[in-house]
Point group: C2
Chain length 440, copies 2
Amino acid sequence: MEKKLGTAPYKGVRDFYPDDQAIQNYIFRVCREAAESFGYEEYGASILEPAELYEAKGNEEIVREQTYTFTDRGGRRVTLRPEFTPTFARLLSARRKTLLLPLRWFTWGSLYRYERTQRGRTREHWQFNADLAGVPGTAAEAEIIFLACAILKAFGLPESAYEVRLNSREIMNYILSDLLSLPPETAIEAARLIDRREKVPKADFEKNLAAAVGEKNESLLLLLYSKNFEEFASRLPEREKSTAGVAEVRELIARLEEVGIGNVRFDQTLMRGFDYYTGMVFEIFDTSAENPRSLFGGGRYDELLSIFGAENLPAAGFGVGDVTLRDMLKTYNLLPPPAGGPDLYLAVAGEKNLGYANDLAASLRSEGVRVAVDLSQRKIGDQLKYADKKGFLFTAVVGEEERESGRLSLKRLKDGREFAFSQTAGGEMVKEMAERLKNG
Amino acid sequence: MEKKLGTAPYKGVRDFYPDDQAIQNYIFRVCREAAESFGYEEYGASILEPAELYEAKGNEEIVREQTYTFTDRGGRRVTLRPEFTPTFARLLSARRKTLLLPLRWFTWGSLYRYERTQRGRTREHWQFNADLAGVPGTAAEAEIIFLACAILKAFGLPESAYEVRLNSREIMNYILSDLLSLPPETAIEAARLIDRREKVPKADFEKNLAAAVGEKNESLLLLLYSKNFEEFASRLPEREKSTAGVAEVRELIARLEEVGIGNVRFDQTLMRGFDYYTGMVFEIFDTSAENPRSLFGGGRYDELLSIFGAENLPAAGFGVGDVTLRDMLKTYNLLPPPAGGPDLYLAVAGEKNLGYANDLAASLRSEGVRVAVDLSQRKIGDQLKYADKKGFLFTAVVGEEERESGRLSLKRLKDGREFAFSQTAGGEMVKEMAERLKNG
């Protein structure tokens, strides 16, 4: 074995050493508890999906350039899931007839995209996804936005740190396909250009849009540059001002205000890539100067079940990724402090006392105490130094004397205070120690 | 879109609907809490690993026939991890100089093997893995077996339900390579045949072994058919009876007995496939007649870091899979009961009261109550029927009267009892309701 292996992970994925894993667990825990407080249930699925699931309907750029798709040893084409919504739709379709509706589900897992690796772009990221199926209309759309905002609040983020941006794919599809009568391919290209508007200089955006849609450019720009929703709506043809799409945007904004979500902005340039959205789409932006980025994204997709031949089902949901959330929490100094170490470290003086130490540890563990036992047979001083570095809260030395007398002295590391315990007739020593240890 | 997609998951993987996900969460929670009670810390890593990680040293059959390996769009060869130990070793090697030793780590995640799908054989399974690095000798080996047994105890399994089987790869390697002087390839083939002994008829096993090792078959069989460790040891040449390997097995069994683990059996036919084991190997068997299978498997692998060119580090660990654990819990009727539904379902009488219901729900959620709000505008009877089917503990109807009076009546579904609340000057109604709802 001459050639040595590298220790780096596969390009674009991350290792989670315990400190990092603790942050991942914290992020998931906050999202999960918020979702459960709204009555959502957790589900899960494999990262492996049949490749056809993403070829049927979805973001074409992703299918063409960004999926991890390979052929297995049996000739099946498999994709590492790049997003959760098709999987959610697949699970729903499979039990369309028996699932009790409406249903509120959430999940947490890893997603894969073959991207050029750069700041904030990984090939694997973890995402929390929540979906509400079986309810049409703005009440459901409002609920998923409530939930997204409840998650941010649970992380301790102030409302001033973010903004809810929303749009209606229904209205945008009407503008591109009906009002401007663009052929389907041109409409898709225009949507793509609009979606990327903020990523290119204004002059380039306008030039590219003109090249794509021709002379209709002017009336489109007028709509895109409307300052707010009412101005935008007023520029729509008279017969459209009162259609469902327009009324729904007004109603949704009112519903959000009703529960105190005021940082909402209509953004007619927000398209979201996925073809399956049929109504409202939204993103929540981190508005800080350091990190102005989209955190949450989602919308309504009422027709996705049709790809399985199942009866359509109104559905809306969102996803939020760990990388952007972690960056935002860092910006606002809201990452959790490093977890305290386990409760007790038992240093062992002399190999023959190890069995007694193990026994004692087992008794304390069954009282809910986290205990590690030193197995090294190092000098006691080195054992205690290790416990201190690892962040244990208490230490105790188990030697001949402790084993024979049944006494034990716990030392609290933060202040050096000692607490002495001895075996009494009632045999309550372990319970008393556990009490002390758990109270810190 | 004429062709309809199937709703089945990719072959050999499972969907986790909420009831199944709850069991997965339970299994992981029990394992995690046991590991944390021993002072173990959680880490994580991607399912994607460089393919070379498994080609350097490992189970050759797995590398040849069972990995999911593919080439990414940049020409890198990637493998979906088939086991955790190489990843653990990679993380350790990468920070060999800075990690505080010894370290106790655990993880939970999915593993992938391209197997013929049959009962209990999936291509994706979830595994809990725990490892202890930096401590040589039987004290460390005993600790990981304590932990494995503590996990089974925490699931409520009696000691009679399982058996710890252990062997020493050191002794077996001595027998095959030194005592019988088999050439390396023959030794590997013999080890493979011994490992599968229980899966083939005895006559076939003996015939195949004779074909592989020739006339040395007789002395090998004599050792393999020894009834217990002392008989086995007595059949070793005199100069071997007192070597480290033999003494260690005795010491380990004594350590296990010392903490009350008596269901231990030396099994000289237990090989475990992985080439990287260097000392003790163990498995914990479900001994039930319905489901006699290996649950936990692990051992000592002191030289695995050498593949990275890092200084060797004594290490021992084990893995336990979700599929076999779940089967065993089912056999013993120890699966957790279905989770109770969320606390409160707010039925809404009339769309204009939805905002009030949402507000009330938000206040209750911030007191730790899990509340779902009906968004359907169905008849109240249908809303309440839904809440009952979903397993909610309480329901309340929010209508005109409730909104105007600030009163609310909670109905407990299990006995139909009603609890009335009204807004008082102190504004404590929400707190009082939350108290009631959380107490069930």
